[in-house]
């Protein structure tokens, strides 16, 4: 039998509607990352039902734990650290993941650490690129977040911009519902937008001063446009509206990335002791980072100013490997953090 890998972290993620367990070596190498999506469970309700989600997490976790350990080819005794998302997320769902992680921790006599879900999304990029190191500028975009984050070093994060109202993914879901698309709305809107022409149904581009976002005005603009068009909203107009809505959201998101990259405050954080303060790495992550237009336009906007990393789809959506990676580096930097559920943490 060969040498066992050192520094194995087993992580659990149950903050919303994905149940996931992962085993990651040294915070960088994914040995297993199993994800069960509850999307079918919630589809008939047109959104995540917290109570159903929490029950499903409890029922799925035991099997996913087996799958993750088997898939990684490791024994519980090999696990050195347990990690679990402690927030932000749905309280009932977080309680299940945290409880199971605490139970495993007691059984295996291993420490357990709580992880901020948002930082997890950023660490998905580190799993994508082994050589990626802070300092970096991160844009976390999902159904719950549109946050611009400055990460000067491992375990340190500063939110420098966020949404005042809806998150980008939430805006996509609501627009999809208005356009009569299915659930989940984001991917459906993405597909429809590919067949439309934004310039035929232009919508306003939200723009707040500074690095803040707002998408509720755009949503209202779409609502009024649909009302004005009335009977005239055929399939073509619907596709054009999807394209216009997507374009407004994407350009608004990237406008702030552009502004942050150009801002002199980027020099505030020394990269390394004695090192310079330039940001050379940009990470765009979270479920909305799967959007086709965002992926294409992000590369253009960031251009040659920094290296852009957008994790592949399976690491953009919620998963436990990113939680394991974040935990590994956070423990190295800050020690073991509490596991008490905090659904508001980092919102």
């Amino acid at each position: 039998m060969g040498a066992r890998p050192l520094g194995l972290t087993l992580a659990i993620e149950t903050s919303c509607d994905e149940t996931s367990v992962a085993v990651v070596a040294d915070g960088r190498r994914v040995l297993a990352n199993v994800v069960h999506s509850q999307v079918d469970l919630h589809a008939e309700f047109g959104g995540v039902v917290p109570e159903l989600a929490a029950r499903d997490h409890l029922e799925r976790l035991p099997h996913l734990l087996d799958l993750a350990l088997e898939g990684a080819g490791v024994q519980p005794a090999d696990v050195k650290l347990l990690a679990v998302t402690r927030g932000p997320g749905l309280a009932g769902c977080l309680l299940v993941g945290v409880g199971v992680a605490e139970g495993l921790s007691a059984a295996w006599a291993r420490p357990v650490t709580g992880v901020n879900h948002l930082w997890g999304h950023i660490y998905a990029a580190m799993l994508t690129r082994p050589d990626l190191e802070p300092p970096l500028l991160g844009l976390v975009v999902s159904g719950a977040h549109s946050d611009l984050v400055l990460m000067p070093e491992h375990g340190r994060f500063e939110v420098i911009g966020r949404t005042r109202d809806d998150a980008a993914g939430e805006a996509f879901d609501k627009a999809a519902r208005m356009l009569g698309l299915g659930y989940p709305g984001g991917p459906a809107l993405d597909r429809l937008a590919r067949t439309g022409h934004a310039e035929r149904q232009p919508l306003p581009r939200p723009s707040l001063p500074g690095l803040e976002y707002s998408f509720s005005g755009l949503k209202t603009a779409l609502l009024y446009r649909l009302r004005d068009l009335g009977e005239a909203v055929g399939p073509d107009a619907r596709a054009d509206l999807a394209a216009a809505f997507e374009q407004s959201v994407v350009e608004s998101l990237l406008e702030k990335v552009d502004a942050a990259l150009s801002s002199p405050f980027m020099g505030r954080y020394p990269a390394k002791p004695g090192g310079g303060g330039e940001i050379h790495e940009v990470v765009i992550c979270g479920g909305v980072a799967a959007n086709t237009l965002l992926r294409r336009r992000a590369a253009e906007v960031v251009g040659g100013r920094a290296r852009l990393t957008m994790p592949p789809l399976d690491l953009c959506t919620d998963n436990a490997a990113m939680v394991a990676a974040a935990a590994h580096f956070a423990v190295a930097a800050n020690g073991v953090e509490p596991t008490t559920v905090d659904p508001s943490l980092g919102w």
């Binding site: 109570e51 309280a91 945290v98 409880g99 059984a107």
Partner: protein, 193 residues
């Protein structure tokens, strides 16, 4: 050792039983944010070998139930030992040999109750049967409301301890597959907003 966990109601209980059902240790705490289940478990179990986990599955508080059931599940999975489920109201009923009404905190001034020969249900204090003593763990305000409604609580000194009641229940407690644990909420929830 068999570990018994009940965090479903206004008080949280932990007990350690020997394989023959003798209570080795037990402790009761006020439920809430300050109750540290993993910490209390470690203190109680020490380095003793746990061979089975028993957990109360409600009805009771959504938060408390989730905390207790998920911790117990993780513990059982981690130790590769069986997990068995106990019903919250039946544990309280088993604390007395007399006919009693077992209650558990349901929030918003209401209680879950189990009367002899009837199915568990949710009730307002005024709807409780008046001819039998009450046994169970309620928030102080709920308990006061019940007393004000003329109900009489069986004193703790005349009751079995939690651990001894759980021990009685264990004989018939069903072993459950790890992935089949279900909580008994009793309160319906609406999935559609």
């Amino acid at each position: 050792m068999i570990v018994v966990v009940d965090t479903s109601s206004a008080r949280s209980a932990l007990a350690l039983l020997s394989p023959d059902g003798t209570v080795v240790a037990e402790e009761i705490h006020e439920s809430g944010r300050d109750f540290d289940l993993p910490g209390r478990f470690r203190a109680l179990a020490g380095d003793q070998t746990v061979t089975k986990v028993a957990v109360a599955v409600g009805p009771g508080s959504f938060t408390g139930l989730r905390v207790g059931v998920s911790f117990s599940l993780g513990l059982a999975i981690g130790l590769r030992v069986p997990i068995v489920t106990l019903r919250t109201l039946h544990i309280q009923a088993a604390r007395s040999d007399d006919a009693v009404v077992a209650v558990a905190e349901a929030g918003r001034g209401r209680v879950y109750l189990l009367a002899p020969g009837a199915a568990p249900r949710l009730a307002e204090p005024a709807d409780l049967p008046r001819d039998l003593p009450i046994v169970g763990w309620l928030r102080p305000t709920t308990e006061s409301a019940l007393r004000a409604a003329g109900l009489h609580f069986q004193p703790d000194s005349e009751l079995r301890t939690f651990g001894n009641a759980a021990s009685l229940m264990l004989e018939s407690a069903p072993e459950v597959a790890y992935g089949s644990l279900k909580l008994e909420y009793m309160q319906v929830f609406s999935a559609r907003a």
